[in-house]
């Protein structure tokens, strides 16, 4: 038969309801309960604390919608996979296309620069036929001069 001090420990830890007692000790505890008035008295006092704890339960139903949570988890998982996935190396064709594009851009830039070099002296003081010294930002409304009216050349 279970000792009274162990029975007291069970009550102190798990409460008065036999269903909460460890299954391996339940039968022995219930036998003690049936036999000893002292055990019943202890259980009665424990049940009062249980009744008080039960006033804080039950909780409201889950506030998370299961479908929403599942979508979030799967989306989150996917984004983490993408975040940690190493960048793919470009294929051979894509690589050479990028190289050719960069080379073409460099050549065009060089040619434009060379052809405009000789005009620097002529256009440095005039833009679109206007004397720079005559143009104040306070005199010209941005609506008066359209960027399309003023040639950069």
């Amino acid at each position: 038969m279970m000792r009274m001090d162990r029975f007291r420990e069970l009550l102190d830890a798990y409460g008065a309801e036999p269903g909460r007692w460890p299954s391996g000790e339940r039968a022995a505890a219930e036998a003690l309960l049936a036999e000893k008035p002292e055990a019943r008295d202890l259980r009665g006092r424990t049940a009062k604390l249980d009744a008080m704890l039960d006033r804080a339960a039950p909780l409201a139903p889950p506030m998370i919608d299961a479908e929403v949570l599942i979508e979030r988890v799967l989306a989150n998982s996917q984004s983490q996979v993408l975040a940690f996935r190493p960048a793919k190396r470009p294929s051979g064709t894509a690589f050479w296309l990028k190289v050719a594009s960069l080379a073409a851009a460099a050549i065009i830039g060089f040619l434009v620069g060379v052809t405009q070099l000789g005009n620097i002296g002529e256009t440095s003081t005039q833009v679109g036929g206007l004397e720079l010294a005559d143009v104040s930002p306070w005199d010209v409304s941005p609506w008066d001069v359209s960027p399309w009216d003023v040639s950069p050349w």
Partner: protein, 196 residues
């Protein structure tokens, strides 16, 4: 699929079966949410923690081993096996969340716990319920976790001890201290209402 054990569903989820994962989530969501609310004490943190726990579940699924092949687990069956793992992850996440610096002073913790959108206070009924909720909120985190798992959510002592990663003796010690503390804190209710 609704009747399949957790292990089988985890196996399917590990092969990318989202429907199997959905069954697992729906099966465990209510209890997981209740546990999280009772440990962290507020809805928003509980929601984040539960989502994180199920994210880890999905990520773990490809490597999931059936109960008989997993070592070091204290479990009585396949279903308990998965539940034990899930509640261990969940409890750790909750305790981590509680260890973060709290934006309130300790002296005000009881009042704040009582007035926030709180897992305890919102369901408490009447003055006794609010007092119990506040007393629960002021318990040390691991004591509250032990009480939440064992008393409120009805996990067996083996599962609860595994969730907290402690021995059954240590679990009982946490439970005894928690209940003793509550009995002392709520002692005046006993004298007024003869509850204890």
């Amino acid at each position: 699929m609704q009747d399949e054990p957790d292990d089988a569903l985890m196996g399917r989820a590990g092969r990318g079966d989202r429907a199997a994962f959905a069954v697992l989530v729906k099966r465990h969501l209510a209890r997981a949410t209740a546990v999280a609310q009772r440990i962290v004490g507020n809805r928003s943190d509980a929601e984040e923690v539960v989502q994180e726990a199920f994210l880890r579940c999905w990520q773990k699924a490809p490597d999931w081993q059936p109960a008989s092949r997993m070592s070091g687990e204290k479990s009585s069956g396949d279903r308990a096996q998965f539940a034990t793992w899930l509640y261990r992850v969940l409890t750790n996440l909750c305790l981590d969340r509680r260890r973060r610096p709290q934006p309130v002073e300790l002296e005000a913790a009881g009042e704040i716990a009582d007035s926030r959108d709180d897992g305890f206070a919102e369901t408490a009924r009447g003055e006794i319920g609010r007092r119990v909720a506040a007393a629960m909120a002021n318990l040390p985190d691991r004591q509250r976790a032990a009480l939440a798992l064992c008393y409120y959510e009805g996990l067996g002592n083996i599962e609860a001890a595994a969730a907290l990663d402690i021995s059954i003796g240590a679990l009982e010690s946490l439970l005894v201290r928690a209940r003793r503390s509550l009995r002392e804190t709520l002692g005046d209710l006993a004298s007024n209402g003869g509850m204890i």
